[in-house]
């Protein structure tokens, strides 16, 4: 997990009276838009105890469920990291095979120019799988954001979104306690705890460590695949606010959301980061 170097800065809207007024969409003034709401619960007891009600951002938690975009996101997540290292050598790369094995005519055998031709037993491959191959591509930001909003909408609509006031309120670090808590509150087999940064409350970490289907991630680790994989999503209030702020600021940013991924933009960074992996003398295999 990436260290807390990438922790988000403290609340931008601290000065403003209205919570993140700079990025809040004007839908709170629109009478035709339903504002979704959610309870804020405490994790101190096994029984469900609701402390407050928050309003959620409708563009994120009550967006039109674009299942096609969600599908594209999940397919992208499954495929864009794939790497194939198989390489089938061609006839030129196989050892030997420079000489004509027998004369063209009069031998009765078929014409052969080289021992390593594809129709020979130990010959090379004509159109084989070639070298390290990737399936890397990037979806445009608009589609990725819409996929996230769809996944969050689904979770909220199906009552699988839980907002906790803070993970510090968890009273014991016993994994059995957390398991019983989840059982009482009907959270499901798998629960994903989302906190603001990678520094999570100790008790939660200790409890979650022993349950394989309960996991904790920071906000920047959230993704469509995980949201759909886990039965329940448990967000802290702070994490929820930060998530909404981030997604809204992305929707409202000045540069285009359709920006194409160009390798040229990242080439110096990527090659610079990979310099220490290279052998000083020999080039990598291709």
């Amino acid at each position: 997990m990436i260290a807390s170097v990438f922790r988000a800065p403290s609340a931008i809207g601290a000065v403003c009276q209205f919570r993140f007024a700079s990025v809040a969409s004007p839908s709170h003034r629109n009478p035709f838009v339903v504002t979704p709401e959610a309870f804020v619960t405490t994790l101190s007891d096994e029984a469900e105890k609701n402390v407050a009600i928050t309003k959620l951002e409708p563009t994120i938690f009550r967006a039109t469920p674009r299942l096609d975009l969600l599908h594209r996101n999940i397919v992208w997540q499954e495929n864009y990291r794939n790497l194939q290292l198989t390489k089938q050598l061609s006839r030129a790369e196989m050892p030997g095979g420079g000489k004509k094995p027998w004369p063209q005519k009069k031998t009765g055998r078929h014409h052969a120019g080289s021992i390593r031709s594809p129709h020979f037993k130990y010959g090379g491959f004509a159109h084989g799988v070639r070298g390290p191959r990737t399936w890397f591509y990037m979806l445009p930001d608009s589609i990725r954001l819409k996929g996230l909003c769809t996944a969050l909408t689904i979770k909220h609509a199906q009552n699988d979104l839980v907002i906790a006031d803070s993970f510090e309120s968890l009273s014991s670090d016993d994994p059995l306690f957390l398991h019983n808590l989840a059982d009482t509150r009907n959270w499901g087999y798998s629960v994903l705890f989302v906190d603001t940064g990678s520094d999570v409350a100790t008790k939660l970490v200790d409890a979650v460590e022993h349950i394989p289907s309960f996991n904790a991630i920071p906000i920047y680790g959230l993704n469509c695949y995980s949201i759909m994989k886990y039965d329940t999503l448990v967000l802290t209030k702070a994490a929820l606010d930060e998530l909404q702020e981030k997604i809204l600021s992305q929707f409202q940013r000045t540069d285009s959301l359709q920006k194409k991924y160009k390798y040229m933009d990242y080439k110096p960074v990527l090659l610079g980061e990979g310099q220490h992996e290279e052998d000083p003398v020999f080039p990598p295999y291709v």
């Binding site: 800065p9 798998s190 394989p212 993704n223």
Partner: protein
């Protein structure tokens, strides 16, 4: 919903058990005119003697051969189109009946037609044991949206630690084919190859030359979107009048 007495219900249940249902495999060779029974009987089995039991029959029961239409075996290859096959016997004597039944308006999926009493098992890939909650699977997809949800300084292309550094973030096969990949590799490692691995350099040059010939002679303009890949700078060729530099000798 219809009510029957207990004896009749038992009879129904037996019928539905004994008769071949829709999902049974078609290994048995039926005689021509054989009709598949449409028996989706959902029987609530409560054997309380003396009480009339209710049976919920959602679809029609077993049809008699006389009343229903015949299910025809199809797919006879009468096309006389020459099929590519290894040997002459396969070309000459094609199996005309592959044993396929057209299933119109039926539920379920048929297994593929098989020869009766065939000893060779169906080829299947080996069973993969999946562990959905092992750490690497539980956190699958984490940090894929880090450029949107993080502070914007990291891009998921930078997180591809398993990919060789020269291929990290490089568009995949569907956009950048092998020729482009090798040209990119050559741009990066030309000096190292020429100095320390001359044999690999020679093989690389041969492969690039072969691929460029292959594409230019055999393919239409596949790579007209090459400029959209964003791999290289689109600089004008200042020396187009210089006859000593030829375009077919691709100089790096």
């Amino acid at each position: 919903m219809s009510t029957f007495n207990s004896n009749f219900v038992l009879f129904l249940v037996l019928e539905s058990v004994l008769l071949p249902s829709d999902s049974i495999c078609i290994t048995c060779q039926p005689f021509p005119g054989y009709i598949e029974p449409v028996s989706n009987v959902k029987a609530v089995i409560m054997s309380v003697p003396g009480m009339s039991l209710t049976v919920n029959t959602t679809t029609r029961l077993f049809q008699s051969a006389i009343s229903a239409g015949t299910v025809v075996r199809g797919f006879h290859d009468n096309s006389q189109v020459p099929r590519i096959a290894d040997d002459r016997m396969k070309r000459m004597f094609k199996p005309t009946d592959t044993g396929y039944y057209y299933r119109y308006h039926r539920n379920g999926v048929d297994p593929l037609p098989r020869l009766p009493d065939c000893k060779t098992p169906v080829a299947k890939p080996a069973y993969k044991v999946r562990k959905p909650w092992a750490p690497e699977q539980a956190y699958f997809g984490a940090n894929d949206y880090i450029d949107l949800l993080g502070n914007g300084k990291v891009h998921p292309a930078q997180l591809q630690y398993h990919v060789p550094s020269w291929l990290r973030g490089f568009p995949g096969q569907h956009r950048a084919n092998e020729l482009i990949k090798l040209i990119h590799y050559r741009n990066l490692y030309k000096s190292k190859l020429q100095a320390n691995a001359p044999h690999q350099w020679h093989q690389l040059c041969k492969r690039i030359k072969y691929l460029s010939q292959y594409h230019n002679y055999r393919k239409q303009d596949e790579m007209h979107e090459e400029r959209d890949l964003g791999l290289w700078d689109q600089e004008p060729d200042y020396f187009y009048k210089d006859k000593s530099r030829r375009s077919y000798k691709d100089l790096v």
